[in-house]
Protein backbone atom coordinates (compact mmCIF):
# COMPACT_ATOMS: atom_id res chain seq x y z
CA UNK A 1 0.00 0.00 0.00
CA UNK A 2 1.20 3.48 -0.78
CA UNK A 3 -0.35 5.35 2.15
CA UNK A 4 1.02 8.62 3.37
CA UNK A 5 2.07 9.22 6.96
CA UNK A 6 -0.59 11.92 7.16
CA UNK A 7 -3.17 9.16 6.52
CA UNK A 8 -2.07 7.59 9.78
CA UNK A 9 -2.54 10.90 11.58
CA UNK A 10 -5.98 11.46 10.06
CA UNK A 11 -6.97 7.89 10.98
CA UNK A 12 -5.87 8.52 14.56
CA UNK A 13 -7.73 11.84 14.64
CA UNK A 14 -10.88 10.13 13.41
CA UNK A 15 -10.47 7.48 16.12
CA UNK A 16 -10.30 10.30 18.68
CA UNK A 17 -13.42 11.78 17.08
CA UNK A 18 -15.28 8.48 17.43
CA UNK A 19 -14.16 8.24 21.05
CA UNK A 20 -15.45 11.79 21.64
CA UNK A 21 -18.85 10.77 20.24
CA UNK A 22 -18.76 7.78 22.58
CA UNK A 23 -17.92 9.98 25.57
CA UNK A 24 -20.76 12.33 24.70
CA UNK A 25 -23.19 9.41 24.52
CA UNK A 26 -21.96 7.76 27.72
CA UNK A 27 -21.63 11.17 29.42
CA UNK A 28 -18.33 10.33 31.02
CA UNK A 29 -14.62 10.83 30.55
CA UNK A 30 -12.49 7.87 29.64
CA UNK A 31 -10.10 7.18 32.47
CA UNK A 32 -7.92 4.41 31.09
CA UNK A 33 -7.17 2.50 27.91
CA UNK A 34 -10.04 0.06 28.33
CA UNK A 35 -12.72 2.70 28.97
CA UNK A 36 -11.24 4.87 26.19
CA UNK A 37 -11.55 1.92 23.86
CA UNK A 38 -15.14 1.44 24.97
CA UNK A 39 -15.88 5.08 24.11
CA UNK A 40 -14.24 4.56 20.71
CA UNK A 41 -16.42 1.52 19.96
CA UNK A 42 -19.59 3.20 21.23
CA UNK A 43 -18.87 6.26 19.07
CA UNK A 44 -18.33 4.09 16.01
CA UNK A 45 -21.51 2.16 16.71
CA UNK A 46 -23.52 5.37 16.92
CA UNK A 47 -21.95 6.86 13.78
CA UNK A 48 -22.43 3.60 11.87
CA UNK A 49 -26.08 3.31 12.84
CA UNK A 50 -26.68 7.02 12.28
CA UNK A 51 -25.49 6.88 8.69
CA UNK A 52 -28.81 5.60 7.33
CA UNK A 53 -30.99 8.34 8.88
CA UNK A 54 -28.41 10.95 7.88
CA UNK A 55 -28.32 9.55 4.33
CA UNK A 56 -32.08 9.95 4.12
CA UNK A 57 -31.96 13.49 5.52
CA UNK A 58 -28.83 14.62 3.63
CA UNK A 59 -28.65 12.45 0.51
CA UNK A 60 -25.38 13.96 -0.76
CA UNK A 61 -23.78 15.13 2.47
CA UNK A 62 -24.25 12.48 5.17
CA UNK A 63 -20.50 11.90 5.44
CA UNK A 64 -19.83 15.58 6.03
CA UNK A 65 -22.59 15.76 8.64
CA UNK A 66 -20.98 12.79 10.43
CA UNK A 67 -17.66 14.64 10.43
CA UNK A 68 -19.38 17.73 11.80
CA UNK A 69 -20.98 15.75 14.63
CA UNK A 70 -17.61 14.17 15.46
CA UNK A 71 -15.95 17.59 15.50
CA UNK A 72 -18.64 19.01 17.81
CA UNK A 73 -18.30 16.05 20.17
CA UNK A 74 -14.54 16.51 20.16
CA UNK A 75 -14.97 20.17 21.09
CA UNK A 76 -17.36 19.14 23.87
CA UNK A 77 -14.85 16.60 25.20
CA UNK A 78 -12.07 19.20 25.13
CA UNK A 79 -14.31 21.76 26.84
CA UNK A 80 -15.20 19.26 29.57
CA UNK A 81 -11.53 18.54 30.14
CA UNK A 82 -10.68 22.24 30.16
CA UNK A 83 -13.40 22.81 32.77
CA UNK A 84 -11.79 20.05 34.78
CA UNK A 85 -14.97 18.09 35.34
CA UNK A 86 -14.28 15.29 37.79
CA UNK A 87 -12.94 12.03 36.50
CA UNK A 88 -11.81 9.05 38.53
CA UNK A 89 -8.02 8.95 38.58
CA UNK A 90 -6.46 6.32 36.39
CA UNK A 91 -3.95 3.94 37.93
CA UNK A 92 -0.41 4.95 36.98
CA UNK A 93 0.57 1.41 36.06
CA UNK A 94 -1.72 -1.48 35.12
CA UNK A 95 -2.08 -4.13 37.77
CA UNK A 96 0.61 -6.72 37.20
CA UNK A 97 2.99 -4.30 35.54
CA UNK A 98 5.71 -5.21 38.02
CA UNK A 99 5.23 -8.91 37.39
CA UNK A 100 7.96 -10.30 35.14
CA UNK A 101 5.69 -12.87 33.47
CA UNK A 102 3.09 -10.19 32.77
CA UNK A 103 5.78 -8.00 31.23
CA UNK A 104 6.99 -10.85 29.00
CA UNK A 105 3.46 -11.69 27.86
CA UNK A 106 2.56 -8.05 27.24
CA UNK A 107 5.79 -7.51 25.30
CA UNK A 108 4.89 -10.51 23.15
CA UNK A 109 1.44 -9.02 22.48
CA UNK A 110 3.06 -5.71 21.51
CA UNK A 111 5.43 -7.52 19.15
CA UNK A 112 2.52 -9.28 17.45
CA UNK A 113 0.69 -5.94 17.20
CA UNK A 114 3.81 -4.38 15.66
CA UNK A 115 3.93 -7.22 13.15
CA UNK A 116 0.28 -6.69 12.27
CA UNK A 117 0.92 -2.96 11.86
CA UNK A 118 3.77 -3.57 9.42
CA UNK A 119 1.98 -6.28 7.47
CA UNK A 120 -1.33 -4.41 7.34
CA UNK A 121 0.30 -1.29 5.96
CA UNK A 122 2.25 -3.31 3.40
CA UNK A 123 -0.47 -5.69 2.25
CA UNK A 124 -2.71 -4.93 -0.70
CA UNK A 125 -6.37 -5.85 -0.37
CA UNK A 126 -7.55 -9.44 -0.38
CA UNK A 127 -10.81 -10.36 -2.13
CA UNK A 128 -13.63 -9.08 0.12
CA UNK A 129 -11.49 -6.22 1.35
CA UNK A 130 -11.43 -4.79 -2.16
CA UNK A 131 -14.46 -6.25 -3.93
CA UNK A 132 -16.92 -5.52 -1.13
CA UNK A 133 -15.72 -3.14 1.55
CA UNK A 134 -13.38 -0.83 -0.37
CA UNK A 135 -15.85 -0.76 -3.25
CA UNK A 136 -18.66 0.16 -0.87
CA UNK A 137 -16.37 2.90 0.41
CA UNK A 138 -15.79 4.23 -3.09
CA UNK A 139 -19.52 4.48 -3.74
CA UNK A 140 -20.09 6.05 -0.31
CA UNK A 141 -17.36 8.61 -0.93
CA UNK A 142 -18.50 9.70 -4.38
CA UNK A 143 -22.21 9.66 -3.56
CA UNK A 144 -21.72 11.30 -0.14
CA UNK A 145 -24.23 9.04 1.57
CA UNK A 146 -25.66 5.53 1.53
CA UNK A 147 -27.34 4.64 -1.72
CA UNK A 148 -29.52 1.83 -3.04
CA UNK A 149 -27.33 1.34 -6.12
CA UNK A 150 -24.12 -0.57 -6.71
CA UNK A 151 -21.87 -0.02 -9.75
CA UNK A 152 -23.73 0.61 -13.01
CA UNK A 153 -24.96 -2.54 -14.65
CA UNK A 154 -24.18 -4.89 -11.76
CA UNK A 155 -26.86 -7.30 -10.68
CA UNK A 156 -25.31 -10.13 -8.62
CA UNK A 157 -23.22 -7.72 -6.56
CA UNK A 158 -26.29 -5.70 -5.61
CA UNK A 159 -26.45 -7.95 -2.57
CA UNK A 160 -23.57 -5.93 -1.10
CA UNK A 161 -25.71 -2.79 -0.93
CA UNK A 162 -27.40 -3.64 2.41
CA UNK A 163 -24.12 -4.75 4.00
CA UNK A 164 -23.54 -2.73 7.20
CA UNK A 165 -21.53 0.43 6.60
CA UNK A 166 -19.15 0.95 9.54
CA UNK A 167 -15.85 -0.17 7.95
CA UNK A 168 -16.68 1.69 4.75
CA UNK A 169 -17.74 4.73 6.77
CA UNK A 170 -14.37 4.90 8.52
CA UNK A 171 -12.52 4.45 5.20
CA UNK A 172 -14.71 7.05 3.47
CA UNK A 173 -14.28 9.62 6.26
CA UNK A 174 -10.52 9.22 5.86
CA UNK A 175 -10.90 9.98 2.16
CA UNK A 176 -13.09 13.03 2.84
CA UNK A 177 -10.55 14.48 5.26
CA UNK A 178 -7.56 13.77 2.99
CA UNK A 179 -9.45 15.45 0.16
CA UNK A 180 -9.09 12.83 -2.53
CA UNK A 181 -9.96 9.20 -3.08
CA UNK A 182 -7.20 6.62 -3.24
CA UNK A 183 -7.73 2.88 -2.77
CA UNK A 184 -4.18 2.53 -1.53
CA UNK A 185 -4.73 4.84 1.42
CA UNK A 186 -7.32 2.75 3.29
CA UNK A 187 -5.22 0.39 5.34
CA UNK A 188 -4.41 2.61 8.35
CA UNK A 189 -8.10 2.36 9.27
CA UNK A 190 -7.63 -1.25 10.33
CA UNK A 191 -5.04 -0.39 12.97
CA UNK A 192 -7.49 1.19 15.45
CA UNK A 193 -9.77 -1.81 15.01
CA UNK A 194 -6.90 -4.20 15.71
CA UNK A 195 -5.60 -2.33 18.75
CA UNK A 196 -9.19 -2.09 19.98
CA UNK A 197 -9.54 -5.86 19.63
CA UNK A 198 -6.48 -6.45 21.81
CA UNK A 199 -7.35 -3.82 24.42
CA UNK A 200 -10.97 -5.00 24.72
CA UNK A 201 -9.88 -8.64 25.00
CA UNK A 202 -7.47 -7.71 27.77
CA UNK A 203 -10.20 -5.68 29.48
CA UNK A 204 -12.65 -8.56 29.23
CA UNK A 205 -10.17 -11.11 30.50
CA UNK A 206 -8.95 -8.84 33.28
CA UNK A 207 -12.49 -8.57 34.59
CA UNK A 208 -12.48 -12.25 35.55
CA UNK A 209 -8.81 -13.22 35.56
CA UNK A 210 -5.52 -12.20 37.09
CA UNK A 211 -3.40 -9.68 35.17
CA UNK A 212 -1.02 -12.46 34.17
CA UNK A 213 -3.78 -14.70 32.79
CA UNK A 214 -5.44 -11.73 31.08
CA UNK A 215 -2.19 -10.98 29.27
CA UNK A 216 -1.87 -14.65 28.31
CA UNK A 217 -5.44 -14.64 26.95
CA UNK A 218 -4.70 -11.53 24.91
CA UNK A 219 -1.54 -13.14 23.52
CA UNK A 220 -3.48 -16.27 22.62
CA UNK A 221 -6.01 -14.18 20.71
CA UNK A 222 -3.27 -12.20 18.98
CA UNK A 223 -1.62 -15.44 17.88
CA UNK A 224 -4.75 -16.67 16.13
CA UNK A 225 -3.90 -16.54 12.42
CA UNK A 226 -7.32 -15.22 11.48
CA UNK A 227 -7.05 -12.40 14.01
CA UNK A 228 -3.63 -11.09 13.01
CA UNK A 229 -2.79 -12.28 9.51
CA UNK A 230 -4.33 -12.96 6.11
CA UNK A 231 -7.83 -11.60 5.81
CA UNK A 232 -7.42 -9.47 8.96
CA UNK A 233 -4.58 -7.64 7.20
CA UNK A 234 -6.35 -7.86 3.86
CA UNK A 235 -9.04 -5.36 4.85
CA UNK A 236 -11.85 -7.82 5.56
CA UNK A 237 -14.45 -6.72 8.12
CA UNK A 238 -14.22 -9.84 10.30
CA UNK A 239 -11.48 -8.46 12.54
CA UNK A 240 -13.40 -5.19 13.14
CA UNK A 241 -16.44 -7.33 13.98
CA UNK A 242 -14.27 -9.29 16.44
CA UNK A 243 -13.25 -5.98 18.03
CA UNK A 244 -16.92 -5.27 18.76
CA UNK A 245 -17.44 -8.79 20.14
CA UNK A 246 -14.46 -8.23 22.45
CA UNK A 247 -15.95 -4.87 23.44
CA UNK A 248 -19.27 -6.49 24.30
CA UNK A 249 -17.59 -9.20 26.38
CA UNK A 250 -15.48 -6.59 28.19
CA UNK A 251 -18.50 -4.41 28.96
CA UNK A 252 -20.57 -7.39 30.10
CA UNK A 253 -17.88 -8.72 32.44
CA UNK A 254 -16.60 -5.38 33.79
CA UNK A 255 -19.48 -4.51 36.01
CA UNK A 256 -18.27 -1.33 37.67
CA UNK A 257 -18.63 1.38 35.06
CA UNK A 258 -19.31 -0.24 31.74
CA UNK A 259 -22.94 -1.18 31.69
CA UNK A 260 -23.88 2.16 30.16
CA UNK A 261 -21.86 1.17 27.14
CA UNK A 262 -23.09 -2.41 26.85
CA UNK A 263 -26.29 -1.77 24.86
CA UNK A 264 -24.44 0.51 22.45
CA UNK A 265 -21.78 -2.12 21.93
CA UNK A 266 -24.32 -4.87 21.36
CA UNK A 267 -26.04 -2.56 18.89
CA UNK A 268 -22.66 -1.86 17.33
CA UNK A 269 -22.44 -5.52 16.32
CA UNK A 270 -25.15 -4.83 13.73
CA UNK A 271 -23.25 -2.08 11.91
CA UNK A 272 -20.10 -4.02 10.96
CA UNK A 273 -21.13 -7.19 9.12
CA UNK A 274 -24.49 -8.79 8.29
CA UNK A 275 -23.92 -11.72 10.63
CA UNK A 276 -23.35 -9.25 13.45
CA UNK A 277 -27.11 -9.15 13.85
CA UNK A 278 -27.04 -12.84 14.80
CA UNK A 279 -24.31 -12.17 17.37
CA UNK A 280 -26.26 -9.19 18.71
CA UNK A 281 -29.38 -11.30 19.26
CA UNK A 282 -27.33 -14.03 20.96
CA UNK A 283 -25.65 -11.39 23.14
CA UNK A 284 -29.04 -9.98 24.15
CA UNK A 285 -30.27 -13.41 25.22
CA UNK A 286 -27.02 -14.09 27.10
CA UNK A 287 -27.15 -10.77 28.97
CA UNK A 288 -30.84 -11.25 29.79
CA UNK A 289 -30.11 -14.78 31.02
CA UNK A 290 -27.26 -13.66 33.26
CA UNK A 291 -29.42 -10.79 34.53
CA UNK A 292 -32.33 -13.09 35.35
CA UNK A 293 -30.01 -15.51 37.22
CA UNK A 294 -28.33 -12.76 39.22
CA UNK A 295 -31.34 -10.54 39.93
CA UNK A 296 -33.86 -13.39 39.91
CA UNK A 297 -36.37 -11.26 38.02
CA UNK A 298 -36.91 -9.97 34.53
CA UNK A 299 -39.28 -7.22 35.63
CA UNK A 300 -36.38 -5.04 36.72
CA UNK A 301 -34.65 -5.26 33.36
CA UNK A 302 -33.21 -1.86 32.41
CA UNK A 303 -35.71 -1.14 29.67
CA UNK A 304 -34.00 2.06 28.51
CA UNK A 305 -30.96 -0.03 27.63
CA UNK A 306 -33.11 -2.64 25.93
CA UNK A 307 -34.60 0.20 23.87
CA UNK A 308 -31.12 1.24 22.67
CA UNK A 309 -30.45 -2.24 21.30
CA UNK A 310 -33.95 -2.32 19.79
CA UNK A 311 -33.24 0.92 17.92
CA UNK A 312 -30.02 -0.55 16.46
CA UNK A 313 -31.84 -3.70 15.36
CA UNK A 314 -34.67 -1.62 13.89
CA UNK A 315 -32.19 0.53 11.96
CA UNK A 316 -30.51 -2.59 10.63
CA UNK A 317 -33.84 -4.01 9.47
CA UNK A 318 -34.77 -0.62 8.01
CA UNK A 319 -31.51 -0.54 6.04
CA UNK A 320 -32.12 -4.02 4.61
CA UNK A 321 -35.73 -3.12 3.73
CA UNK A 322 -34.69 0.23 2.25
CA UNK A 323 -32.04 -1.40 0.05
CA UNK A 324 -34.72 -3.91 -1.04
CA UNK A 325 -32.26 -6.37 -2.55
CA UNK A 326 -33.21 -10.02 -2.57
CA UNK A 327 -30.37 -12.25 -1.38
CA UNK A 328 -29.62 -14.98 -3.88
CA UNK A 329 -26.99 -16.66 -1.68
CA UNK A 330 -29.21 -17.68 1.24
CA UNK A 331 -32.68 -18.81 0.24
CA UNK A 332 -35.43 -19.76 2.67
CA UNK A 333 -38.33 -21.56 1.04
CA UNK A 334 -40.21 -24.79 1.70
CA UNK A 335 -37.93 -26.55 -0.79
CA UNK A 336 -34.75 -25.11 0.73
CA UNK A 337 -35.93 -26.27 4.17
CA UNK A 338 -36.15 -29.82 2.86
CA UNK A 339 -32.68 -29.52 1.35
CA UNK A 340 -31.37 -28.01 4.59
CA UNK A 341 -32.67 -30.89 6.68
CA UNK A 342 -30.80 -33.36 4.49
CA UNK A 343 -27.60 -31.30 4.73
CA UNK A 344 -27.37 -31.23 8.53
CA UNK A 345 -24.86 -34.09 9.05
CA UNK A 346 -22.69 -32.93 6.13
CA UNK A 347 -22.60 -29.29 7.24
CA UNK A 348 -21.99 -30.28 10.87
CA UNK A 349 -19.05 -32.46 9.86
CA UNK A 350 -17.53 -29.81 7.59
CA UNK A 351 -17.87 -27.07 10.22
CA UNK A 352 -16.41 -29.31 12.91
CA UNK A 353 -13.40 -30.05 10.69
CA UNK A 354 -12.86 -26.31 10.21
CA UNK A 355 -13.24 -25.71 13.94
CA UNK A 356 -10.69 -28.35 14.88
CA UNK A 357 -8.03 -27.30 12.37
CA UNK A 358 -4.85 -26.96 14.46
CA UNK A 359 -3.24 -24.90 11.71
CA UNK A 360 -5.90 -22.21 12.11
CA UNK A 361 -6.79 -22.43 15.79
CA UNK A 362 -4.17 -24.44 17.64
CA UNK A 363 -6.30 -26.18 20.27
CA UNK A 364 -8.56 -23.21 21.03
CA UNK A 365 -11.93 -24.77 20.26
CA UNK A 366 -11.40 -28.13 22.03
CA UNK A 367 -10.10 -26.17 25.03
CA UNK A 368 -13.10 -23.84 24.82
CA UNK A 369 -15.55 -26.76 24.80
CA UNK A 370 -13.92 -28.27 27.89
CA UNK A 371 -13.92 -24.88 29.60
CA UNK A 372 -17.57 -24.39 28.73
CA UNK A 373 -18.36 -27.64 30.53
CA UNK A 374 -16.45 -26.44 33.58
CA UNK A 375 -18.12 -23.03 33.52
CA UNK A 376 -21.52 -24.69 33.22
CA UNK A 377 -20.85 -26.43 36.53
CA UNK A 378 -18.74 -23.92 38.41
CA UNK A 379 -18.84 -20.57 36.66
CA UNK A 380 -20.67 -17.39 37.62
CA UNK A 381 -23.84 -16.50 35.75
CA UNK A 382 -21.90 -14.10 33.50
CA UNK A 383 -19.19 -16.65 32.72
CA UNK A 384 -21.73 -19.38 32.02
CA UNK A 385 -23.67 -17.01 29.76
CA UNK A 386 -20.46 -16.13 27.93
CA UNK A 387 -19.65 -19.78 27.25
CA UNK A 388 -23.18 -20.71 26.22
CA UNK A 389 -23.52 -17.63 23.99
CA UNK A 390 -20.20 -18.35 22.25
CA UNK A 391 -21.15 -21.97 21.61
CA UNK A 392 -24.60 -20.90 20.42
CA UNK A 393 -23.16 -18.36 18.01
CA UNK A 394 -20.73 -20.96 16.63
CA UNK A 395 -23.64 -23.35 16.07
CA UNK A 396 -25.89 -20.68 14.51
CA UNK A 397 -23.10 -19.72 12.13
CA UNK A 398 -23.07 -23.33 10.94
CA UNK A 399 -26.84 -23.31 10.49
CA UNK A 400 -26.74 -20.57 7.85
CA UNK A 401 -24.81 -22.88 5.51
CA UNK A 402 -27.78 -25.21 5.42
CA UNK A 403 -29.48 -22.60 3.25
CA UNK A 404 -26.65 -21.57 0.96
CA UNK A 405 -27.02 -21.72 -2.81
CA UNK A 406 -23.24 -21.95 -3.18
CA UNK A 407 -21.45 -25.30 -3.19
CA UNK A 408 -21.55 -26.12 0.53
CA UNK A 409 -17.93 -27.24 0.86
CA UNK A 410 -16.63 -24.13 -0.86
CA UNK A 411 -18.84 -21.77 1.14
CA UNK A 412 -17.94 -23.31 4.50
CA UNK A 413 -14.26 -23.37 3.59
CA UNK A 414 -14.32 -19.69 2.70
CA UNK A 415 -16.62 -18.33 5.40
CA UNK A 416 -16.95 -20.49 8.53
CA UNK A 417 -13.41 -19.94 9.88
CA UNK A 418 -13.88 -16.19 9.50
CA UNK A 419 -17.20 -16.36 11.31
CA UNK A 420 -15.52 -18.23 14.14
CA UNK A 421 -12.78 -15.60 14.17
CA UNK A 422 -15.42 -12.97 14.92
CA UNK A 423 -16.37 -14.70 18.18
CA UNK A 424 -12.85 -15.82 19.03
CA UNK A 425 -12.33 -13.11 21.69
CA UNK A 426 -15.31 -14.51 23.61
CA UNK A 427 -13.99 -18.06 23.16
CA UNK A 428 -10.52 -17.12 24.41
CA UNK A 429 -11.83 -15.33 27.51
CA UNK A 430 -14.21 -18.22 28.28
CA UNK A 431 -11.39 -20.73 27.83
CA UNK A 432 -9.11 -19.00 30.30
CA UNK A 433 -12.00 -18.36 32.65
CA UNK A 434 -12.93 -22.04 32.61
CA UNK A 435 -9.32 -23.05 33.19
CA UNK A 436 -9.08 -20.73 36.19
CA UNK A 437 -12.39 -22.05 37.47
CA UNK A 438 -11.17 -25.65 37.18
CA UNK A 439 -7.91 -24.80 38.88
CA UNK A 440 -9.60 -22.97 41.74
CA UNK A 441 -12.09 -25.77 42.30
CA UNK A 442 -9.21 -28.21 42.08
CA UNK A 443 -11.21 -30.50 39.85
CA UNK A 444 -10.11 -32.43 36.86
CA UNK A 445 -11.34 -31.31 33.48
CA UNK A 446 -14.31 -33.60 32.64
Amino acid sequence: MTFRWTDLLVTAALAVGFAAVGEAILRRRSRDLVSGNESFLVGMAACGAGLLPLSLLFPRAALRVELLVMALCLLLALWRRARGSPSPPAPRLPAGARDFVWLVLTTAVILVAADFTAVNLRYAFLWDGFQIWASKTQLLYYRGALDRLWYPGDTYELRYVPYPPLVSLYEALLQVVRGQFDFDSFKPVFLPFYYSLLVATYGAARAVLSARLAAAATLMLALLPLASTGTAAGAYADMPQAAFVAGVVAAALRRTDSHGGLPWLIGGLTVVKPEGTIIAVVACVAVAYAWSIEKRTVRRLPWSRVAIVAVFLALRLAYVRWASVSDSVYVLTRESLMVAAGRIPHVARLCLVKMLSPRRWGLLWPAFLLSALVLGRRGSAAETSLAVATATAAALFAVIFLFTTWPVELHIDQAYPRLLAQISPAAVVATFSGWQCARQADIEVP
Binding site: F125, Y151, P225, A367
Partner: protein, 144 residues
Amino acid sequence: MLRGFAALVVGASLWSGVRALARDFDRAFHVGGKSVFPESMVRQLDAIRARVPPGGTVLLLSASSTDGAWWARAFQRALYPRNVVVVRYEPLPKAQLARLGREWRFGWGLLLAPEPSLLALTDREDLGTLPALPDRVWLGNLTP
Protein backbone atom coordinates in the same frame (compact mmCIF):
# COMPACT_ATOMS: atom_id res chain seq x y z
CA MET B 1 -3.06 -32.96 34.20
CA LEU B 2 -4.70 -29.53 34.13
CA ARG B 3 -1.34 -27.77 33.81
CA GLY B 4 -0.21 -30.24 31.18
CA PHE B 5 -3.31 -29.61 29.08
CA ALA B 6 -2.92 -25.84 29.49
CA ALA B 7 0.70 -26.11 28.34
CA LEU B 8 -0.43 -28.12 25.32
CA VAL B 9 -3.04 -25.49 24.40
CA VAL B 10 -0.57 -22.63 24.79
CA GLY B 11 2.08 -24.55 22.83
CA ALA B 12 -0.35 -25.24 19.98
CA SER B 13 -1.33 -21.58 19.95
CA LEU B 14 2.31 -20.52 19.73
CA TRP B 15 2.99 -23.05 16.95
CA SER B 16 0.04 -22.01 14.77
CA GLY B 17 0.45 -18.30 15.50
CA VAL B 18 4.18 -17.91 14.97
CA ARG B 19 4.02 -20.03 11.83
CA ALA B 20 1.21 -17.89 10.39
CA LEU B 21 2.91 -14.63 11.37
CA ALA B 22 6.16 -15.67 9.67
CA ARG B 23 4.38 -16.83 6.52
CA ASP B 24 2.27 -13.69 6.33
CA PHE B 25 5.26 -11.40 6.90
CA ASP B 26 7.08 -13.12 4.05
CA ARG B 27 4.03 -12.87 1.79
CA ALA B 28 3.49 -9.19 2.60
CA PHE B 29 7.08 -8.10 2.04
CA HIS B 30 8.28 -10.50 -0.65
CA VAL B 31 5.21 -11.53 -2.66
CA GLY B 32 2.47 -8.94 -2.19
CA GLY B 33 2.32 -5.83 -4.33
CA LYS B 34 2.50 -2.32 -2.93
CA SER B 35 -0.71 -1.24 -4.61
CA VAL B 36 -4.01 -2.87 -5.41
CA PHE B 37 -3.30 -1.78 -9.00
CA PRO B 38 -0.01 -3.30 -10.24
CA GLU B 39 2.27 -1.19 -12.42
CA SER B 40 1.25 -3.01 -15.61
CA MET B 41 -2.38 -2.24 -14.88
CA VAL B 42 -1.61 1.41 -14.13
CA ARG B 43 -0.10 1.66 -17.63
CA GLN B 44 -3.17 -0.01 -19.11
CA LEU B 45 -5.43 2.39 -17.22
CA ASP B 46 -3.44 5.35 -18.55
CA ALA B 47 -3.90 4.03 -22.09
CA ILE B 48 -7.64 3.63 -21.53
CA ARG B 49 -7.98 7.14 -20.11
CA ALA B 50 -6.04 8.52 -23.08
CA ARG B 51 -8.51 6.99 -25.50
CA VAL B 52 -11.85 6.97 -23.65
CA PRO B 53 -13.04 10.46 -22.67
CA PRO B 54 -14.69 11.22 -19.32
CA GLY B 55 -18.29 10.06 -19.40
CA GLY B 56 -17.56 7.41 -22.02
CA THR B 57 -19.36 4.12 -21.47
CA VAL B 58 -17.36 0.91 -21.67
CA LEU B 59 -18.41 -2.72 -21.93
CA LEU B 60 -15.87 -4.91 -20.17
CA LEU B 61 -16.08 -8.55 -21.18
CA SER B 62 -13.98 -11.08 -19.32
CA ALA B 63 -13.34 -14.55 -20.65
CA SER B 64 -13.48 -16.00 -17.15
CA SER B 65 -15.92 -15.28 -14.35
CA THR B 66 -13.56 -16.89 -11.83
CA ASP B 67 -9.96 -15.92 -12.57
CA GLY B 68 -10.88 -12.78 -14.49
CA ALA B 69 -13.40 -11.41 -12.01
CA TRP B 70 -10.82 -9.71 -9.81
CA TRP B 71 -9.26 -7.81 -12.72
CA ALA B 72 -12.58 -7.03 -14.39
CA ARG B 73 -13.86 -5.37 -11.24
CA ALA B 74 -10.51 -3.72 -10.58
CA PHE B 75 -10.78 -1.98 -13.98
CA GLN B 76 -14.37 -1.02 -13.19
CA ARG B 77 -13.44 0.46 -9.80
CA ALA B 78 -10.31 2.17 -11.13
CA LEU B 79 -12.28 3.99 -13.82
CA TYR B 80 -15.23 4.92 -11.56
CA PRO B 81 -16.75 7.54 -11.58
CA ARG B 82 -14.92 8.91 -14.66
CA ASN B 83 -16.35 6.19 -16.88
CA VAL B 84 -19.25 3.81 -16.59
CA VAL B 85 -17.82 0.31 -16.99
CA VAL B 86 -20.38 -2.47 -17.28
CA VAL B 87 -18.82 -5.85 -16.49
CA ARG B 88 -19.99 -9.07 -18.10
CA TYR B 89 -18.48 -12.53 -18.43
CA GLU B 90 -18.34 -15.13 -21.16
CA PRO B 91 -20.56 -16.67 -22.40
CA LEU B 92 -22.46 -13.52 -23.36
CA PRO B 93 -25.25 -14.39 -25.83
CA LYS B 94 -25.65 -12.04 -28.79
CA ALA B 95 -29.19 -11.11 -27.77
CA GLN B 96 -27.98 -10.05 -24.33
CA LEU B 97 -25.10 -8.11 -25.87
CA ALA B 98 -27.54 -6.31 -28.14
CA ARG B 99 -29.85 -5.51 -25.22
CA LEU B 100 -26.93 -4.15 -23.17
CA GLY B 101 -25.82 -2.07 -26.16
CA ARG B 102 -29.27 -0.50 -26.46
CA GLU B 103 -29.41 0.15 -22.71
CA TRP B 104 -25.92 1.59 -22.21
CA ARG B 105 -24.90 2.81 -25.71
CA PHE B 106 -21.32 1.61 -25.34
CA GLY B 107 -18.70 3.52 -27.24
CA TRP B 108 -15.77 1.30 -26.21
CA GLY B 109 -15.14 -2.30 -25.42
CA LEU B 110 -12.54 -3.72 -23.06
CA LEU B 111 -11.84 -7.41 -23.42
CA LEU B 112 -9.89 -9.54 -20.93
CA ALA B 113 -9.17 -12.71 -22.83
CA PRO B 114 -6.33 -14.71 -24.39
CA GLU B 115 -7.66 -13.97 -27.90
CA PRO B 116 -9.43 -10.84 -29.19
CA SER B 117 -12.07 -12.70 -31.17
CA LEU B 118 -14.70 -12.77 -28.37
CA LEU B 119 -15.78 -9.18 -28.98
CA ALA B 120 -16.08 -7.33 -32.29
CA LEU B 121 -13.79 -4.37 -31.60
CA THR B 122 -12.66 -1.85 -34.21
CA ASP B 123 -9.33 0.01 -33.95
CA ARG B 124 -8.31 -2.68 -31.54
CA GLU B 125 -5.34 -2.07 -29.26
CA ASP B 126 -3.42 -4.73 -27.31
CA LEU B 127 -2.66 -3.26 -23.88
CA GLY B 128 -0.65 -6.23 -22.64
CA THR B 129 -1.08 -9.02 -20.15
CA LEU B 130 -2.71 -9.39 -16.75
CA PRO B 131 -0.67 -10.65 -13.78
CA ALA B 132 -0.77 -14.42 -13.32
CA LEU B 133 -3.33 -14.94 -16.10
CA PRO B 134 -3.10 -15.99 -19.75
CA ASP B 135 -5.49 -13.14 -20.58
CA ARG B 136 -4.50 -9.98 -22.41
CA VAL B 137 -6.28 -6.64 -22.27
CA TRP B 138 -7.80 -5.51 -25.57
CA LEU B 139 -9.33 -2.07 -26.03
CA GLY B 140 -11.32 -0.96 -29.03
CA ASN B 141 -14.36 0.84 -30.30
CA LEU B 142 -17.64 -0.91 -29.98
CA THR B 143 -20.09 0.08 -32.62
CA PRO B 144 -23.78 -0.72 -32.26
